[in-house]
Symmetry: C2
Subunit: 326 residues, 2 copies
DNA sequence: TTCGTGTATGGAACCCATCCCATAAAATGA
DNA sequence: TCATTTTATGGGATGGGTTCCATACACGAA
């Protein structure tokens, strides 16, 4: 690989002058500049980014930690975050934890090693304590990792309420919602509490189906859906994520239970998956792009060293009427 | 940040000795090692990865260039590739081109800047010439970028044939397939040629619907689907990707055309999306994990400096019977 | 006793940039 | 003409590691 030394030698100048040309800083005589640019062209020289990173003590890379890249919610989040980060001059490293906590610890280390300038994490298997030790830019998506780490999420209470009300409007009396493992309290778990409460208050019955699989790949969702259709064919209302709801609609149809004739359903997330099933899903839309923008914004502020005025941000969800509710 | 110097000072040794302990190489007296390890613990020292990268002239990062992260095919590919790369000790940087060719050029530069050790690209908007200039590890997914860059794809001819035959078996006489912009010849375009040929040979009519949008986001697919349902409600067979097929099934149903009663459909890719619609899609499955494994394998060989025996790899597709064909 | 050989350690070059600072010439002003 | 200021340039320290090589001691063999 050609280095700045090679360029300097070829142009008969010192490396400092070449550097000045490269960074367009300081004084360089027009004539000298041309000679250096020629040398750069001839040698097909490109500055080594790692050496620059070393000097500047930053890499221009942000890590996105997610439990599963191909889950539509995270895929759309990554898509959006990547676009915003690109606009800020940052590259984006993806880290798939697949629910293994050693992965998460490994990825957190990227920060200590100065391999990345910041982390946006949508994962929370580790102890909060392990995050507390790190005093570097981190933003959590939908995860409460302690007071010093900003958390960006939607207003899940509102989401849970909207979902419950949609089912109540559809006349549901016996509804089932799929809840996640809640050994760690996440903002997103709040929606299930509110959902249940609102359903109960309406006099309806609310079954909480605890997803055994704390996993995000579709095969698990599908199995859960089959189990639900098998064991609870008589529910008249259903609430879960887009993907699981789509899977349940499918499984129910196999059992001869049609939506919305025999039961209603409200989904959550508002990814493209909610538009795929027929009928289209009524869903509580999370503004994924805005979540990504907000996460990046908070991260950039930390990287710049700004003081964060707000560390607990809640965006609004949007109710999108499909055809799975009245 | 604490450096190896700080550790050396604290342990009263030279930096070389600390380095030896860190890398478990060379001779270090047990007693000295303990003293150094203590110092590392006390200072909470982590070696700076950028400095290491500079010396070793490698970063342990591979870039994945895709046109759209959240498209299920690419999302599942990234998911799989990330896992394999992790196993090889590599991190994974994602680059979304969104069909803008300046993005692709920008990302290719990451290689020249030595920011990444290799690139796996699923994108091909640039001239082959621009790839030819780069003599560093690159693997192309489903793209022919010139003889020196290995290309990994499935046997699309076989896929096109399987799809056509499935529709013929279902008795289709007037089928429509969605083809992409083919200003650049990609292996994947071959399936449409074979598909058309096989349909024609069976005496059927084959309409090639050229997707105006050379885009991968769902809103475009959906619009295309609505247009197809509007303009070609009388087709009895359909062939496209999972996502577009799902969208067309949806749009057709709105028009009162049911699948498989009124028309048959075969999809392509075999992502989780093929399992979401009801009825489940008959689809030609691309072995996405194997594609990813193969790409990574070829990339690692290049990084190691091995000579590639084969640079044009074709994996087999799998026919998966759903309920959209007989 | 002397000559390896294995063990143990640290100085310094190296990886490839950036940039401070010293130096000097040219341009400007008094 | 002399004193400043501006322009122009390069040496060398710096960022934080790795590793070659020189040095030195201990120990067994000749």
């Amino acid at each position: 690989m050609t280095t700045i030394q090679d360029v300097a030698r070829k142009a008969h100048v010192g490396v400092a002058t070449v550097s000045r040309v490269l960074n367009e800083s300081g004084y360089v005589k027009a004539e000298t500049r041309e000679r250096i640019l020629d040398a750069i062209r001839e040698l097909n020289y490109t500055p080594n980014a790692v050496a620059r990173n070393l000097y500047h003590r930053k890499t221009g890379i942000v890590a996105l930690i997610v439990p599963e890249i191909s889950h539509p919610y995270f895929a759309e989040f990554i898509d959006a975050a990547e676009a915003v980060l690109y606009g800020c001059g940052y590259q984006c490293m993806i880290c798939n934890t697949k629910r293994e906590q050693n992965y998460e610890a490994y990825y957190l280390d990227l920060l200590k090693q100065q391999r990345v300038d910041g982390i946006i994490t949508g994962v929370h298997t580790l102890d909060i304590e392990q995050y507390r030790q790190i005093d570097r830019p981190i933003v959590a998506l939908d995860r409460q990792l302690g007071s010093h780490i900003p958390c960006v999420a939607v207003n899940h209470e509102e989401g849970g309420r909207m979902a419950a009300e949609a089912l109540i409007r559809s006349g549901c009396r016996k509804v089932l919602q799929v809840t996640g493992q809640s050994h760690v309290s996440t903002p997103s778990n709040r929606r299930h509490e509110v959902f249940e409460q609102v359903i109960r208050e309406s006099g309806g019955e609310c079954i909480n189906y605890l997803s055994k699989w704390n996993r995000f790949s579709y095969s698990y969702h599908r199995e859960a859906a089959l189990e639900i259709a098998e064991n609870y064919p008589d529910i008249d209302g259903f609430f879960s994520t887009d993907v699981i709801t789509a899977a349940v609609l499918h499984a129910m149809k196999e059992k001869g239970r049609r939506c919305p004739e025999d039961f209603s359903a409200v989904a959550y997330d508002g990814t493209f998956v909610s538009r795929l099933p027929y009928p289209e899903l009524t869903t509580i839309v999370q503004p994924i792009s805005e979540l990504a923008e907000t996460c990046v914004d908070l991260l950039m502020k930390q990287i710049r060293g700004d003081v964060l005025s707000e560390t607990n941000i809640r965006l609004n969800v949007i109710y999108r009427q499909g055809a799975t509710t009245a």
